[in-house]
Point group: C2
Chain length 249, copies 2
DNA sequence: GCGTATTGCGATCGCTGTACCCAAACTAGT
DNA sequence: ACTAGTTTGGGTACAGCGATCGCAATACGC
């Protein structure tokens, strides 16, 4: 009767019916295959036919589980969101949120197709809700209003995605082209300040490990390793949005 | 001889040759048409045929100007980057960078397809170089090393894109679905802290204007209007990466 | 005017997302 | 045990996509 006619969300439809011929596959199985293909061969090789072939079935069958390809992408996004581990609040909300961000960074680096996708398509599913609920729980006693907390959640995800995409340089091929063009632009004249940039560390921004100390350093210094840099950045973002840390200065 | 065989970058190829039949169109003209379509009808209606039709020509003709569709997307990204106005450094690098960020936010909101695209495809062209050069000029006397300045540049773009995408909610349709699912999830049980979120301000995060004061407020307070919130956020990010403001405490 | 270099673009190929249709496989009711 | 109803499996088909090819048209240097 009062139905909003636009297909609401895949997670509001029941996965399988009680009657009729039972399904041979599941959303999770299809999602897992799609994520595997994206990890291995890139996001735009994830076609319905390719995923179906991976599962040994026909492309049309997938449409019993998913209405469109975009819905499959939604499932993929939420599925990797489930890779988070969410321990109980420690009492230090800043530390808890930074820990979540560091997990997110690891997850995003594991699935290089994710940063671009999650920004273009900020969809929320069961795992996204669990994450949001966890963040709200961490911030339960924080005096900020809900809108601010929601914004902090969005920025925790968004800033992390942006940072990882910067770390990865948008993929090796693209980064190579960018560097080549930068050199070209510098050599043919006009940009004096770019020269010093290219004479130093442009080719590979960073790698993944944690070679040095594991995080936030004394206020004022900027860490050298990527993990420390990320922690430093996300700490500033979060304390900027939510005020300074609870106990710390 | 020493050629890296992968097609280097569209901006390293000359746009037109001196000899032979002269071209009837230009990269700029095609780019402009494509941006117009994307603004009006969304990014994924930007097909080669559609753009060609807009220009009254055939799809194959466009491949004289652009090698692939992705290259057209690169042109679009860089073209809107040219909408920035870059005044000379004022001496206060933080204020200058925040001003750039606010321009970026306006531009990104004008082209809602951009945030997702620029994160997924962080390509740099002439306008991107001009912007980078400008940022480096603003930071000329800043003591940080080049890698840190480059990171600040990347985060200025990345964080702004993430913020705008959060403001826009990923498009009306997607936001509607998300809200519907959140309500569904809350009503069917488990997530206590989500309830208070939905009882308050979830449907539209923000609108664009600048109803109240125009920016950074006294330290400690968090502004209410979106413009102030953005300024607050980007200020925290930049001073987090580059140390505190030059004159200010 | 003639060779040479470039562009314009219709025709075409392989691939994509997805609608349609019917056979197969299951449950519920009798 | 049979029928009626409901759902899934998946082959086929279609419109549209990005991209290639080949040829006619159009310019310049000589």
């Amino acid at each position: 009767m009062t139905a909003g006619q636009s297909a609401p969300s895949i997670w509001m439809r029941p996965e399988r019916s009680a009657v009729g011929r039972p399904a041979q596959r599941s959303r999770a199985e299809i999602t897992c295959a799609a994520v595997g293909i994206a990890d291995r061969e890139g996001l735009d090789t994830v076609s319905m036919r390719r995923v179906a072939a991976e599962l040994g079935t026909g492309a049309a069958s997938l449409y019993r589980y998913v209405e469109t390809r975009d819905e499959l992408l939604d499932l993929m996004i939420d599925a990797v969101g489930g890779e988070h581990q969410l321990p109980g609040p420690s009492g230090d909300w800043l530390a808890d949120l930074v820990a979540i961000g560091e997990q997110s960074r690891t997850i995003l680096r594991r699935h290089p197709w994710l940063p671009g996708l999650v920004i273009a398509r900020p969809v929320i599913g069961p795992n996204g809700i669990a994450l949001l609920e966890h963040v709200l729980a961490v911030l339960e006693r924080h005096p900020a209003d809900v809108a601010t907390k929601l914004e902090a959640f969005a920025m925790l995800n968004g800033v992390t995605a942006a940072f990882v995409q910067y770390e990865l340089g948008g993929g090796a091929a693209l980064q190579e082209r960018n560097v080549a063009y930068l050199q070209h632009a510098v050599s043919s004249g006009e940009h004096p300040r770019l020269a010093e940039l290219l004479s130093q560390g442009p080719p590979a921004p960073a790698e993944g490990g944690h070679p040095a100390g594991d995080g936030v350093c004394a206020d004022g210094g900027v860490p050298a390793d990527p993990v420390g840099r990320y922690a430093h950045l996300i700490t500033r973002v979060l304390s900027g949005l939510l005020g300074p840390a609870p106990g710390a200065a």
